[in-house]
């Protein structure tokens, strides 16, 4: 067969049959990604530049939605709540998960059972465990208030209190996030060669020293993965807020995604809602890149 009839692929000639079949086999997945990810992303970018209430066709208004967003106290509060929630959840959840993973890594009896227990919150949906927590934290008859009363602490409002709602949400967020982070930390710990840690102990290093000097630096990429994925997930906090507080009391727990949802499906301001979503998306990208850059620098320093 003449070379000109073959397709060129990475320094190699490929038979037209292989090139054709390769394209045919990726066609479904490419079509789906174009239709369901890339087109909506671009359409969302366009929508954010329009005013659109579903009743009339979108009207192009330039950057007006973004201008409105940065002057809208409610929108800015929603982003602030989102940031507090994310930092408040990710930091304690990561530290606690690492501690739990280190304990689970001891290969004592029954660790498999504990691992299953810690993963349980991840198996159930946010709605399912949300309603369970809603009962537990109920100000009038919730068991948690009963528990506090045994220690002489008076009834708290928790999710119904303007000042306690967000911290309560964060506590429940930590509770659930741990399931995921523990599993990943455990996998990372079990990937560290036993000989490395033994060597440190042979040299007379204390457990704490060998943990901070040997284990932690090797675990750095895993830690960064846990943090970055947790930040990305938690910045999109939505389900638990809808179930637990509906964004209240007042707007005390209205997060960015909930604000965007309300703008779209209660106020029918599709353009403004899209702009909020785009700003959150950009914030997620910037934060992830910053964190990845930071981890790159840290691992270079360790070398």
């Amino acid at each position: 067969m003449a070379k000109s009839k073959r397709a060129w692929f990475q320094g190699d000639w490929v038979t037209p049959a292989e090139a054709r079949w390769g394209l045919i086999l990726v066609l479904p997945v490419m079509a789906l990604f174009l239709a369901l990810k890339i087109a909506p992303l671009m359409y969302g970018g366009y929508l954010s530049l329009t005013q659109y209430s579903l009743l009339q066709p979108p009207r192009f208004i330039g950057l007006a939605n973004y201008e409105r967003l940065f002057n809208d106290a409610r929108a800015l509060q929603a982003f602030r709540v989102t940031l507090y929630y994310t930092v408040g959840t990710v930091v304690p959840a990561t530290i606690l998960s690492l501690a739990v993973a280190v304990m689970l890594d001891t290969r004592l009896r029954g660790m498999g059972v504990f691992r299953t227990v810690f993963y349980m919150p991840q198996v159930a949906s946010w709605v399912a465990i949300g309603v369970a927590w809603l009962y537990v934290m109920n100000p009038a008859f919730g068991p948690f208030n009963y528990l506090l009363s045994l220690f002489g602490i008076e009834r708290q409002g928790f999710l119904a209190s303007g000042s306690q709602a967000l911290p309560t949400l964060i506590g429940i967020g930590v509770w659930r996030q741990m399931g995921y982070s523990v599993v990943i930390f455990l996998a990372g710990l079990q990937g560290i060669p036993q000989s490395l840690r033994e060597a440190a102990v042979m040299d007379g290093a204390s457990w704490w020293r060998s943990f901070t000097q040997v284990t932690l630096p090797i675990l750095m990429p895993t830690t960064m993965f846990v943090i970055v994925t947790a930040v990305i997930f938690n910045l999109q906090v939505f389900d638990q807020v809808v179930v637990l507080t509906g964004g209240g009391p007042g707007r005390a727990t209205t997060t960015a995604v909930l604000f965007s949802y309300n703008q779209a499906f209660q106020s029918f301001a599709m353009g403004y809602a899209a702009a909020v979503a785009v700003v959150l998306f950009v914030a997620i990208m910037i934060l992830s890149l910053l964190l990845l850059g930071l981890s790159g620098q840290l691992s270079r320093k360790n070398r």
């Binding site: 692929f9 292989e18 090139a19 054709r20 079949w21 390769g22 394209l23 086999l25 990726v26 479904p28 997945v29 490419m30 789906l32 239709a35 369901l36 990810k37 890339i38 909506p40 992303l41 969302g44 929508l47 659109y52 579903l54 304990m103 890594d105 001891t106 290969r107 004592l108 691992r115 227990v117 993963y119 159930a124 949906s125 709605v127 399912a128 309603v131 369970a132 009962y135 537990v136 008859f141 009963y146 995921y180 599993v183 996998a187 990372g188 033994e198 102990v201 457990w207 060998s210 895993t222 960064m224 993965f225 999109q236 939505f238 965007s260 809602a273 979503a277 959150l280 998306f281 997620i284």
Partner: protein, 296 residues
């Protein structure tokens, strides 16, 4: 932490006891809400509001589980959830299987570009695409009373496709499948081609079965994700007969009251299939979660 084993026996035992105590205490906190679900699901309406809280119901109310289906149309919601979770899982396994095989084993122009394009969408969260998708589905031409320009009706909203389609394009699944297919030997393709096997048959008869472990992970992940999904059905559907489990759980409460015992019975019924699947496939699932964390 096996280096603890070098400590003297007395210290070793104390440490062991401390670890167990810490883990048991934490497990108590993790399990407490699940315990409440089980207790309330078996309680009478009065016991729900008892003070101090009831931990063991006087008469176990088994009929709560049948009342769940009598008081609301929870059966329909479970059926809907099962349909969209199953259909999307089959779809994803086939699509990602094909894509993974093609990206890992076939050579064709534009392969790298297309793969990177898919990987880039890993960064695109659902919340950015959900409003545009809602409008696209609403304006879907010639469906749900729409004319050819997509005006006049509700398109494919309130249908199974509107809840299945958003899950079919998952970069994570495609990425996982491609990595797995890359680890399978290349010479099987060449040998099969020598024997004159059809390109599609090589994929379908040789590589798809070999990729079963990775496909199991993707299938379990997706089934759980769709079963538990709240935002997509919330946005895409508004009719009672299209409710799924996560949106139907709201039916057990109105402005005034919450039927806590029935709500928890429904929650228990909805979690059970996932817990069973998790226990059976735990090894696969944990490995799947861990792949991302250790490869990075």
């Amino acid at each position: 932490m096996s280096n603890l084993d070098y400590a003297p026996p007395a210290i070793r035992q104390t440490r062991r006891a401390l670890i167990y105590m810490a883990l048991i205490a934490l497990s108590g906190i993790i399990l407490a809400p699940f315990l409440m679900i089980v207790v309330l699901a078996l309680s009478s309406p009065a016991e729900v509001f008892a003070w101090p809280p009831v931990l063991i119901p006087d008469n176990i109310q088994w009929q709560n589980f049948s009342d769940v289906f009598r008081v609301t149309n929870f059966g329909r919601a479970m059926f809907n959830t099962f349909v969209i979770a199953t259909v999307s899982t089959i779809g994803i396994v086939l699509i990602d299987g094909l894509a993974g095989y093609a990206f890992a084993k076939m050579r064709f122009p534009g392969r790298t570009t297309m793969f990177l394009l898919i990987l880039a969408t890993l960064m695109v969260p659902v919340h950015v695409t959900i409003i545009p998708l809602f409008i696209m589905f609403r304006n879907f031409p010639l469906a749900g009373g729409n004319d050819i320009f997509g005006n006049g009706g509700f398109g494919i909203l309130n249908s199974y496709p509107s809840m299945v389609l958003p899950f079919l394009a998952t970069a994570y699944g495609t990425y996982l499948m491609t990595s797995f297919m890359r680890m399978l030997p290349d010479n099987l393709v060449e040998a099969a081609r020598m024997d004159g096997a059809h390109e599609f048959a090589i994929f379908w008869k040789i590589y798809l079965p070999l990729a079963a472990p990775a496909l199991t992970v993707i299938a379990m992940f997706n089934f759980t994700a769709v079963w538990n999904e709240f935002l997509v059905p919330l946005v895409m559907t508004s009719t009672a007969d299209m409710k799924v489990i996560q949106t139907a759980l709201a039916d057990f409460s109105d402005q005034e009251t919450v039927l806590w015992n029935l709500l928890m019975a429904a929650v228990l019924i909805s979690i059970l299939p996932l817990v069973l699947m998790f226990i059976v496939g735990q090894k696969h699932l944990v490995r799947g979660v861990a792949v991302g964390g250790t490869k990075g």
